[in-house]
Subunit: 117 residues, 2 copies
DNA sequence: CAGGATCCAGCATGATACTG
DNA sequence: CAGTATCATGCTGGATCCTG
């Protein structure tokens, strides 16, 4: 995540109010985060499933972005104590509540992709 | 803009289909882009107005992000041939159509900012 | 006023090798 | 399988100086 310092509204900032849009932006900035949320919106996935779905991402980066999403309570990580290891990722309620935004971004993108041709 | 290579859906990619979500992400990634769109959603603004509103941004970066938004047809740049120069920025129809997403991000952020406390 | 042109630092991502 | 660790690199944004 970019984790930019939080951008404040200006001039009515009192007591360092955080801009909600920037808050949202911060949670979802990171090259693969939206795609991760997108795939998880279709259901629980294991680590390697995600890794295969997001072709191009390296395992290290996938791990890190998942950890950040977990830290921000967007994603839940469930570890099964088995050998070989099994770890399942799913959306938290907070993550689920983000899906409508993802859908709108998809709709918007689809529309303007067409008219760009 | 990050201008990441376009992420494709996987496996049903045929003929290099572009993921609409990634398209949207690409157009709006950049530290200040969402805030720029946000301020412009309130009406036409001059360069220095924007610069003052977005406290912390340098003029060089503001120029660059505005140029990218212009290139992506999100923002319209109107130059008045006067001395001293006057340049006004406003949203294009495409930019305006993005506002609902911005609003949702704001609402979502506001909600989860609270419950984070 | 509204930039353009450089240069540079930091950090996010990528590549690769290794592990319980 | 699901990572961790390390190193390499490329971009993004910031700082600074200059201009019509």
């Amino acid at each position: 995540m970019a984790r930019y310092f939080i951008q404040n509204e200006n001039p009515p900032k009192e007591k360092e109010e955080i801009c909600p849009v920037t808050y949202t932006q911060n949670l979802t900035s990171g090259r693969w985060k939206l795609m991760i949320l997108w795939y998880l919106s279709k259901g629980t996935k294991r680590f390697n499933e995600l890794h295969r779905s997001l072709s191009g991402i390296s395992k290290g980066i996938l791990t890190r972005q998942l950890r950040e999403l977990e830290e921000d309570e967007m994603v839940h990580r469930e570890v099964y104590k088995e050998v070989p290891p099994k770890v399942e990722y799913s959306l938290t309620p907070k993550g689920v509540s983000f899906i409508p935004i993802l859908d709108m971004m998809g709709e918007w993108g689809k529309k303007h992709l067409k008219s760009d041709q």
